[in-house]
């Protein structure tokens, strides 16, 4: 029994890794603009560029890239805000769901714009089919493509030679959609539809059950949205229970396919990096570090979820299936644990079981996945986070061996280091400051804020801590017991999400732009080799020290304290 479930997650992971390799090579080919078998889409792309009034051949500097990226993001924000605020009167609303309140619309628009998908509403009653499609599905496509485009800009900067121009943002953006996201999403959506996920336009189905209860079954154009929600690592669910919902994720097969889809592009992006620069060894180093980090978080989670809640074991019930609170029978504990960790190391944040009910160590592993946010990481942006840690590791290694720190022939100097450090420290700052403020508010007036926490004690603290970690990691999963649809949570997490999305894109792109301009120093015997295992270990410890140890005191107050009371 247990072995079958373990074999299941092994197969899901193995097949993802195997397919990510050729996909990575393909990504490198299309971003380089070389010949590929998908060139039949070129006329469509030319049409899109013409309709958009865009010259896709023009090389852009890093400032121009950021200008284009931020401008179009602003346009999307305004669009989504309008849709959410007026969804009640817009078409495709068969269930007559109301408008969102302005603070909730603000939070939701930001949330999907930054690919975070923190959801302070439930899909069944809080959104209309129009919003699900024209705001949410739309953003799930374009924000993923934004992350991928920004990532390619950084790849360009690490090429040999000196340059100002780092490719064309629109070119990378449009190709990411036409040649990667749309085709794969279509395949995933078809699997879902044929496994029983709805794709319809009528409202809830009123039925009378066998026992005679009247029930309304929510449906809608779900399959199309769920496919890109996973593939683009956005994670925002169609229904309130996300991929735990039996229509959103009906079978073990759909579970495997959805889980596969969300891990695929982050892995492929790492391989693409190696092929793009024609330095495959470099991507093996990156992949090695990420995979070690991932497995270190996965193993304890699988162990604790499969062994069940000791307090329930103590009552004498049979827990051979594992900890079943918040889990679905068709997935089982192992696949739920695997899903939980993949969705937190990768900033997808969809859930197929309720993280709030996971064992404390699993909750901690999920928190750590979001705190590091670079063991694979979200589509495109995960690599950018990793890049920041590489810069820091190069600098520290350089100091240790007494050489000028260089990355691929470019000197790392004070300016780049300052940017990298600001980006790296921003993450703990946002999380810890946000949690501290909330804990302060709560402790000052526990009766007024009684609705916030679904659980007392250490676990209640973890709920607040998780919410800010998830916002800052642009993850979007939650300890959903938190009563988070209040102005405080909507606005504070909204602000955290904006800062935590754009600064970690602006920072690495700026570093990339600065590096690309520098004189290229050919490799020599004195060069620090970054494609070695030694350097991999160095990066791993930089990530561990900066991203994980900074949180240790807070983790001790939440999940660790809870663990020691339970066991």
């Amino acid at each position: 029994m247990m072995n079958k479930e373990l074999l299941g997650i092994l197969l899901i992971f193995g097949s993802t890794m195997l397919l990510a390799l050729p996909l990575g090579r393909y990504l490198a080919t299309i971003y380089r603009g070389e010949k590929s078998w998908t060139d039949f889409l070129a006329p469509l792309e030319r049409l899109l560029f013409r309709a958009g009034g865009i010259d896709a051949k023009r090389g852009m500097t890093w400032q121009q890239h950021l200008g284009a990226l931020l401008t179009i993001n602003l346009a999307w924000f305004v669009w989504a805000m309008l849709v959410f605020c007026f969804q009640g009167s817009l078409p495709l609303n068969p269930d007559h769901n109301p408008n969102m309140t302005p603070d909730q619309a603000f939070n939701t628009a930001i949330s999907f714009l930054v690919s975070c998908n923190l959801q302070h509403y439930s899909g069944e009653s809080g959104a209309t089919y129009f919003s699900q499609l024209f705001a949410i599905t739309f953003l799930q496509f374009v924000t993923a493509a934004t992350g991928m485009a920004a990532c390619v800009v950084v790849f360009n900067a690490l090429k040999e030679g000196t340059t100002e121009k780092l490719g064309n943002f629109y070119d990378y953006f449009v190709k990411s959609i036409t040649r990667v996201l749309l085709p794969i999403a279509t395949v995933v959506a078809l699997v879902l539809v044929f496994q029983g996920t709805p794709m319809n336009w009528t409202g809830k189905a009123p039925i009378v059950t066998v026992q005679g209860d009247s029930v309304n079954v929510s449906r809608g154009p779900a399959a199309a949205m769920i496919a890109i929600k996973e593939l683009g690592t956005n994670g925002g669910g169609f229904f309130g229970a996300n991929s735990a919902h039996p229509l959103e994720n009906p079978t073990y097969l759909t579970n495997a396919v959805e889980n596969f889809a969300l891990v695929l592009i982050p892995l492929a992006m790492v391989f693409a990096f190696g092929y793009y620069l024609k330095r495959p060894r470099l991507s093996y180093m990156v992949m090695g570090v990420m995979t070690v980090g991932f497995l270190l978080l996965l193993a304890p989670t699988v162990y604790y979820e499969m062994h069940g809640n000791p307090a329930i074991t103590h009552m004498g019930a049979d827990q051979s299936l594992g900890a079943m609170e918040g889990k679905e029978v068709r997935f089982g504990a192992a696949a739920s644990a695997y899903w939980g960790i993949t969705n937190t190391v990768i900033s997808c944040g969809s859930v197929n079981s309720m993280h709030d009910s996971h064992m404390p160590v699993s909750g901690m592993a999920e928190l750590l996945g979001m705190m590091t946010n670079a063991f694979y990481g979200g589509v495109g942006v995960g690599f950018l986070n990793f890049f920041v840690f590489v810069i820091i590791a190069v600098f520290i290694s350089g100091l240790m061996v007494g050489r000028t720190p260089e990355l691929l022939g470019k000197k790392i100097e004070a300016r780049e280091m300052k940017i990298a450090i600001i980006v790296a420290l921003l993450h703990p700052l946002l999380i810890l400051a946000g949690t501290a403020m909330s804990a302060h508010l709560y402790a000052g007036n526990p009766t007024e804020y009684a609705g916030w926490l679904a659980n007392p004690g250490y676990h209640g603290f973890s709920e607040m801590f998780y919410e800010f970690t998830s916002s800052a990691a642009n993850n979007g999963s939650g300890f959903e017991g938190l009563g988070d649809n209040t102005p405080w949570w909507n606005i504070s997490t909204g602000v955290v999400m904006i800062l935590a999305r754009y600064l970690p894109i602006i920072g690495p792109v700026a570093i990339a732009g600065l590096l690309a301009r520098k004189k290229y120093i050919p490799e020599s015997a004195g060069t620090l080799r970054v494609d070695t295992a030694t350097f991999g270990v160095m990066v791993f410890f930089v990530i561990w020290i900066i991203a994980a140890l900074a949180f240790f005191p807070a983790l001790a107050l939440g999940p660790l304290a809870e663990h020691f009371t339970l066991y």
Binding site: E5, G52, G53, I54, G67, T71, L133, F138, V142, Y170, I177, V193, G196, P198, W201, A205, I207, T209, V210, Q211, D213, V215, V217, S218, P221, A224, G240, A241, A244, Y252, G308, A311, I312, A317, D318, Q319, S320, G322, M324, E325, G326, K327, E328, V329, R330, G332, A335, M354, D356, S357, M359, N455, P456, H459, S462, F479, E480, G481, E562, L566
Partner: protein, 186 residues
């Protein structure tokens, strides 16, 4: 800046057509060939829809195999988990009460035979399944309530087990209970 904004708006419009018009239309058309035609797979009895195959419903009467506890009380338009933490004392008291109730309703069953899914709420509140053990442990009670031989009810459960190729084996509670009703000629 102005041209950039204009490009942004135009590109947004084009992408809306592609990602929110053409793509969902394609999936909707394909869905017509799928089981349930994209409306969700419905199950009818005597010409009346009694449920969706994938959506769990409430069964709490003794003559039916009971479904799992649900934080959403099986309201299929408000899916939700309990979000209770593993150490929450109030929550643990509820679990203990469910176990005690189950033992009362199923005399002769020992606590060690009660699989945890019968006393814990699912993630969606709409879990349509039980583990085989979760159904088998209810056989004696159901057989007694329906005045059927235990062996026949047990055989029915065995028939309804859907083996998980990689995931856990499971039983669809709605299908099991419909088969049970059919056995009784309902």
């Amino acid at each position: 800046m102005k041209t950039q904004l204009l490009s942004a708006l135009r590109l947004t419009l084009v992408m809306l057509v592609l990602c929110c018009g053409l793509y969902p239309a394609l999936i909707t058309v394909a869905a017509q060939l799928a089981p349930g035609h994209g409306e969700g797979v419905q199950i009818s009895r005597h010409g009346r829809v009694v449920g969706f195959a994938n959506v769990g419903q409430k069964f709490d009467r003794p003559e039916y195999f009971n479904s799992r506890p649900s934080a959403a009380d099986y309201h299929a338009d408000a899916s939700s988990g309990s979000n209770k933490g593993p150490s929450n004392p109030e929550y643990l008291a509820v679990v203990k009460a469910r176990l005690d109730t189950f033992l009362l309703q199923n005399p002769g069953v020992k606590a060690a035979d009660v699989p945890a899914e019968l006393i814990t709420a699912s993630g969606s509140g709409l879990d349509p399944h039980l583990s085989p053990a979760g159904a088998l442990v209810q056989v004696a009670r159901v057989a007694r309530a329906r005045r059927l031989p235990e062996a026949r009810v047990r055989a029915l459960v065995q028939q309804q087990i859907e083996p998980g190729t990689l995931g856990p084996d499971h039983v669809n509670v709605l299908k099991l209970n419909l088969a049970l009703d059919a056995l009784a000629g309902l």
